[in-house]
C-alpha cells in the first residue's frame, strides 16, 4: 500500500507541464454541443420512421447512462454522467439502430457499448474503439436477424419492411436499372437506421459542430474525398454494376459515420496528417466492403478497424520537434 506522505506546496511556484494556453472549450461543453448537433438526425428519424423510434433511442440512452453510473458507483469513482459522454454514446447508438428494433436490444447494446466499449479500458479518454460502434457491432453479432430488418419510412401509411438502398445495390443489381433517386437519399426518405438516412440533417449537425469548433473538419472531408475517389474509380470502370460516388456518399451510414463516429476525439488520430490517412483508409475499407464484401454496409467495421490503427498512425505521423533534424 502506498503510504507516502504528500508534500504540500502552498505558496510556492507551481510548476506545470505544457500546454499553458487553454481553450475555453471544455470536454464537457463539447459533449453537450455534440448532443445538440444530434437533434436534427433524431428529429428527421422520428418524422420518417414514426414516434416509436423515440422509445428505441431513449432505451439506448437509458442503458448508457445507467451503465455508466453503475460502473462508476461500483468502482467508487466520481459519477461522471453529467459530462455528457454517456449521453452521446447512448444517443449515437440509438440513432444507428434499425427502426422498430426491440428497445430491450437497444438497452443491451448500450450496456455493452459503455461497459465493454469504454469502461473496461478505464473510462472516458481511454477507450480504443468508438463505444457506440462497439455496442452496435455486438448487437449485430448477437441479434443478426433483428439488426438487419429494415422498415421503410412510415410517412406513407404503414411501416413496411423493405430493403435499404445499399442492399438493393448489393443484392438486386439495381445500378443497371438507374439506381435509387439521389434526392430521396439526400433527404433521407429511404430505408435505413433511425438517424443515418437523412444526409441533410447530418450536414446541419456537421456545420454546427464545425462552427463551434468541436469537429475537426478534416475527418469528414478526408472520408468524403476518399469515398468519392475510390468509389469513383469503380464507377468509371463499370457504371452498370457499381453505384455512383454520389449514391455511395448519401447511402447507408457513411455521412453519419463521417460526422459523428470517425470524428470521435478519443479514437481518431491527433495529427492532421494522421487524420487524412485515417479518413481515406476508412473510405477505402468502406468501398471494399460495400462492393466486394459479404455485407451491404461496412462503415461500422471500417471505422472500428481504423480505430485500432490510430495509435500506429499517431506514431508514424509524429511531427518533428522544432529544431530537430529529420
Amino acid at each position: 500500500m502506498d503510504t507516502a506522505t504528500t508534500v504540500e506546496l502552498k505558496n510556492k511556484t507551481i510548476l506545470t507541464s505544457t500546454p499553458h494556453v487553454h481553450s475555453k472549450l471544455s470536454a464537457q461543453k463539447a459533449m453537450w454541443l455534440v448532443v445538440i448537433s444530434l437533434l436534427p438526425p433524431l428529429v428527421m428519424g422520428v418524422i420518417y420512421f414514426g414516434l416509436y423510434q423515440l422509445i428505441v433511442v431513449l432505451a439506448a440512452l437509458a442503458g448508457a447512462v445507467m451503465t455508466e453510473s453503475a460502473i462508476k458507483y461500483i468502482r467508487k469513482q466520481k459519477v461522471t454522467i453529467f459530462d455528457g459522454s454517456a449521453v452521446i454514446t447512448g444517443l449515437l447508438l440509438g440513432l444507428i439502430l434499425p427502426p422498430g428494433l426491440n428497445p430491450v436490444f437497444a438497452f443491451i447494446g448500450s450496456v455493452v457499448a459503455i461497459g465493454f466499449g469504454k469502461e473496461v479500458f478505464g473510462g472516458l479518454g481511454y477507450n480504443i474503439f468508438n463505444p457506440a460502434l462497439v455496442g452496435r457491432a455486438f448487437l449485430q453479432a448477437a441479434y443478426p436477424v433483428a439488426m438487419t430488418t429494415w422498415s421503410t419510412p412510415a410517412m406513407a401509411v404503414d411501416t413496411v419492411t423493405k430493403a435499404t438502398p445499399l442492399s438493393l445495390f448489393k443484392f438486386e443489381a439495381i445500378a443497371s436499372k438507374g439506381g435509387v433517386d439521389a434526392m430521396s437519399l439526400f433527404l433521407g426518405n429511404v430505408g435505413g437506421s433511425i438517424g443515418e438516412t437523412s444526409s441533410i440533417a447530418i450536414l446541419v449537425g456537421m456545420v454546427f459542430l464545425i462552427v463551434m469548433k468541436v469537429l475537426n473538419w478534416r475527418v469528414p472531408l478526408a472520408m468524403i474525398v476518399g469515398l468519392l475517389l475510390f468509389s469513383g474509380i469503380f464507377w468509371l470502370i463499370d457504371p452498370t454494376k457499381f453505384a455512383s460516388p454520389i449514391h455511395h456518399l448519401f447511402m447507408g451510414g457513411f455521412m453519419f459515420g463521417a460526422v459523428y463516429m470517425a470524428s470521435d476525439w478519443v479514437t481518431s488520430p491527433v495529427t492532421n496528417k494522421g487524420i487524412w490517412i485515417y479518413g481515406m483508409a476508412i473510405s477505402l475499407i468502406v468501398v471494399m466492403i460495400r462492393l466486394f464484401g459479404g455485407l451491404p454496409e461496412g462503415v461500422m467495421y471500417a471505422i472500428l478497424i481504423m480505430n485500432g490503427f490510430v495509435p500506429l498512425i499517431n506514431r508514424y505521423t509524429k511531427p518533428v520537434i522544432f529544431g530537430e533534424e529529420k
Binding site: M1, T3, N102, F105, I108, F116, V120, F138, A141, A142, Y143, P144, A146
Partner: protein, 231 residues
C-alpha cells in the same frame, strides 16, 4: 511452492491457485473453441484430464530413463498414445460428442497444459505427487470449461445442460455461441478472477501492515508472490 508437499496440496493447487485457465492461461484454444455448451466443455475437460493423468503418471515413472535431449519427443509419444485411446473410445461410445468436439480431441496431443505439466511437474516429482497434480489440473480445467460453457450456453441458446432454462420471450444472443462470445466470456472471467486475487492480496498486506504497526516492527512485509511455475 506450497509449504507442504502433500498430495492434497498438489491437487488443490490445480483447482484455484494455479488453475490452468485462470492463472496459467494455458490451453485457451480448446477453451475458446469447444465451450458452446456445458456438455461439450465438460467432455473436453474430462478427456483432457484422462490424458493428463495417465501421461503424467507414465512420464513420472520413466523420467529417469528418458535422455534429456529427446524428452519432448518422448513426452509427445506418451501423450499421443492416450489421446488416441480417448479419440477412438469417444468415436465408438459417444459419436455425437466426438463430432461436436471435432479436431479438438486429437489436438489434445499439443495441449499446453499436458506438456506443461509433464515438463514442469511430472518430470521432477514422484509418481504419487504427479498423479494428484494431474488430477488437480484436470479438475481445474474442467471446472473452468464448465463455468465458461454454462455462461455461453445460457446466454447463447437459452439452455443449460441441453435443457431450456430461459423462456422463449428472451431472445438468445447468438454472439455467445460465436467465437467472439467466447473471448468476451473468458475476458470477463479473467477480470473477475484477477480482481478477486488482488483483493485477497490487499487484505493480506493490510493485515501485515496492521500487525507491523501494533508490534512496532521496522521490517516491511514482503508482498506475497503468486505461485506460478514455469510452464
Amino acid at each position: 511452492m506450497s509449504k507442504s508437499n502433500s498430495p492434497i496440496n498438489d491437487f488443490m493447487n490445480g483447482i484455484w491457485k494455479q488453475n490452468p485457465i485462470f492463472k496459467q492461461v494455458l490451453g485457451t484454444c480448446p477453451t475458446l473453441a469447444v465451450t458452446v455448451s456445458v456438455v461439450n466443455g465438460v467432455a473436453m475437460g474430462l478427456a483432457t484430464t484422462f490424458v493428463l493423468l495417465f501421461s503424467s503418471l507414465i512420464i513420472s515413472m520413466i523420467k529417469s530413463l528418458i535422455p534429456n535431449q529427446v524428452r519432448i519427443a518422448a513426452y509427445i509419444v506418451v501423450i499421443a498414445t492416450f489421446v488416441t485411446i480417448v479419440d477412438i473410445v469417444m468415436k465408438a461410445q459417444f459419436p455425437e460428442l466426438s463430432k461436436a468436439l471435432g479436431p479438438f480431441i486429437p489436438l489434445i496431443v499439443v495441449n499446453c497444459i499436458i506438456l506443461g505439466r509433464a515438463e514442469a511437474f511430472a518430470s521432477k516429482n514422484t509418481v504419487v505427487r504427479s498423479g494428484f497434480d494431474a488430477l488437480g489440473m484436470g479438475a481445474g480445467f474442467t471446472l473452468a470449461l464448465l463455468v465458461i460453457g454454462g455462461i455461453r450456453e445460457i446466454l447463447g441458446s437459452n439452455k443449460l445442460f441441453g435443457f431450456v432454462v430461459l423462456p422463449d420471450t428472451v431472445e438468445p444472443m447468438l454472439i455467445f455461441i460465436l467465437p467472439a462470445g467466447a473471448f468476451l466470456t473468458l475476458g470477463i472471467l479473467f477480470g473477475i478472477a484477477n480482481n478477486y486475487e488482488q483483493k485477497q492480496k490487499d487484505k493480506i498486506i493490510q493485515k501485515a501492515i496492521a500487525a507491523e504497526r501494533s508490534a512496532k516492527l521496522v521490517t516491511v512485509p514482503a508482498a506475497p508472490q503468486t505461485e506460478t511455475e514455469e510452464a
